[in-house]
């Protein structure tokens, strides 16, 4: 057995901030899920601002700022712009930040029910450098993205669909059984966790650059009504809208 090496503190720490806008805060908890991993992260970063995890929080500037949730109030919009001004790198964390999240279903309601403005993603609001997708995010993926950023390495999301990982996990395919699943159009990286537990993929990680929605609707139309298909494709936001998180990555 190889012994785990203790990190020697030879690198200069960068500063990290983790902010939460309107959301369930589940992604922050997911970051904390593995204390060992999280503690290792602190070998690389000085945690300057993390309301959920510590009492004394400092203002910017930050080397890396991670933001979850969507901006709702004036205060949150102001905070978001301030984070952008004060941070070298801004990372959008979770389905809310990247796609709009569950709350963005509000955008599809008839006008008379909506008392508030449209829910906007972080991409609609400020310039975002990188994404950590998922509802919630995957702990190991998030930590490794942050470690990559420490080393100035451009983090990469998988270029294949959830189906690919689902085959690796040798699940029985839901679509082949006549059940709906959004795996074919969704970015991999969650290790097909939902299908492993016999639940459909609801596309929380957002669409692939090559997502074929025409085909997806054709396949789903054998199982769901038109209205239901629309609902499925907007659970965590408007999947068919070009997701900046991925297209940006392709251009950078």
């Amino acid at each position: 057995m190889e012994k785990k090496k203790e990190t020697q503190q030879i690198f200069i720490k960068k500063s990290l901030a983790i902010f939460s806008l309107t959301c369930c805060e589940g992604c922050q908890f997911e970051l904390l899920k593995d204390y060992v991993n999280f503690n290792h992260l602190l070998n690389f970063y000085e945690l300057k601002n993390f309301r959920l995890g510590q009492e004394n929080n400092l203002d910017g500037p930050f080397d890396v700022a991670v933001v979850e949730g969507t901006p709702e109030s004036q205060r949150e919009y102001k905070l978001l712009h301030q984070i952008r001004r004060e941070s070298k790198i801004v990372v959008a964390m979770g389905a809310c930040a990247n796609l709009g999240g569950i709350q963005s279903q509000r955008n599809h309601l008839p006008a008379k029910y909506i008392g508030k403005p449209e829910v906007k993603t972080l991409y609609d609001t400020i310039k975002i450098d990188f994404s950590i997708p998922g509802c919630p995010i995957t702990n190991t993926e998030a930590i490794s993205i942050l470690v990559d950023l420490y080393w100035d390495k451009i983090p990469k999301l998988p270029g294949h669909a959830v189906c690919f990982e689902c085959r690796l996990n040798e699940n029985e395919c839901l679509i082949k059984k006549g059940l709906p699943c959004l795996g074919p159009v969704t970015v991999a990286g969650c290790n097909s966790i939902c299908i492993n537990s016999k639940e459909s993929c609801f596309g929380c990680r957002g669409p692939l650059p090559q997502a074929n929605f025409i085909k997806m609707k054709e396949i789903l139309s054998a199982m769901l009504s038109k209205k239901e298909i629309e609902d499925w494709l907007t659970i965590y936001g408007d999947y068919q809208k070009k997701w900046l998180g991925i297209n940006k990555r392709d251009k950078s």
Partner: protein, 314 residues
């Protein structure tokens, strides 16, 4: 050489194999079959079942750690198509040092029961296959065919009686004829078949499920994973020519930007580059990609309807 055996003999064969090798065979897991390690030499299923992932997950596992040593492995219950695919797989990787060498493997074939997606009979699989043992069930006995000194050594230890019945390995599937030469010619002529591939790719997700399950897809990314404890792990991760980052080079420039380019590459590698480089198509007709495709695309139908569309020398 051909030998006769009963259940008890096969248990002895398993025990002999178990002394030197980790044994893998097909295991039922809910409604699917998986190819997995046998913790003990008991209850090996010598019969082949179509597992979702083929043998490649054993000798070339996802996330392969390059700093680990290879284990000696016995792959049992392999159907004819999988033996043929394994032969090609070893040929492809022979110089790489990444996977087990032939001498670290024991290849044991077994009877299969073809399903509606099998089309192994379209490929010339039978002659010259390299394996050690093939175990075939007859009415009230087994026939054990040994094809190598490794196989002979195992049989010698148990002392089986020779059999004089006739035995020939043959692809069992019964599928409509596919002209592989014409297939190769048609695919190689991209101008001619361009619209055809566009039509097929409009119906494809580009999800890569087909390449994940194919015994003859072996593309990988070499990754250097920064781990939070300060170390860095060198490993190989499976990837697919359908992935959006597969053919990307600097500045996000993509050599195969559209799904039709990627789909075309899949078929081109299987039926044109394969025969050029390894002297055989990179498809053995196992049908796994058909079973896996969430868009219900069918490689067998796709190549036959292409050949129907472009039937003669072009």
């Amino acid at each position: 050489m051909l030998y006769k055996a009963n259940n008890h003999h096969l248990d002895l064969v398993a025990e002999v194999i178990n002394k030197k090798y980790q044994i893998f065979s097909h295991h039922k897991n809910g409604s699917v079959f998986k190819y997995q390690r046998n913790q003990s030499p008991k209850n090996i299923s010598w019969h082949s079942q179509k597992s979702i992932l083929p043998f490649k997950k054993i000798i070339f596992p996802e996330g392969l750690n390059l700093d680990k040593d290879n284990q000696k492995v016995a792959l049992t219950g392999l159907a004819l198509c999988d033996i043929a695919a394994l032969n090609l797989f070893l040929k492809q990787f022979s110089e790489s040092g990444i996977i087990q060498k032939r001498e670290e493997l024991l290849i044991v074939g077994g009877d299969c029961s073809p399903d509606e997606n099998c089309f192994c009979d379209q490929f010339n699989l039978d002659p010259l296959l390299d394996f050690d043992l093939f175990i075939s069930k007859r009415e009230n006995e087994y026939l054990v065919y040994s094809k190598s000194w490794r196989g002979e050594n195992i049989i010698k230890k148990i002392g089986l009686k020779k059999s004089l019945v006739s035995f020939n390995l043959k692809a069992k599937a019964k599928s409509p004829k596919i002209d592989l030469e014409l297939t190769k010619k048609n695919i190689d002529n991209r101008e001619l078949t361009k619209d055809y591939w566009q039509k097929i790719s409009n119906n494809c997700f580009g999800c890569g499920a087909c390449t994940a399950v194919c015994p003859l897809c072996f593309c990988f990314d070499q990754n250097f994973l920064n781990s939070p404890d300060g170390g860095c792990k060198r490993c190989l991760n499976w990837t697919s020519c359908f992935a959006s980052d597969f053919s990307q080079i600097q500045f996000g420039h993509d050599l195969r930007p559209e799904n039709t380019d990627r789909l075309y590459n899949w078929y081109h590698h299987k039926f044109v580059r394969g025969p050029k480089e390894l002297k055989s198509p990179l498809c053995v007709g196992c049908g796994r990609c058909i079973t896996a495709c969430p868009a219900h695309l069918n490689i067998k139908n796709i190549i036959s309807s292409m050949n129907n569309k472009f039937p003669v020398d072009n």
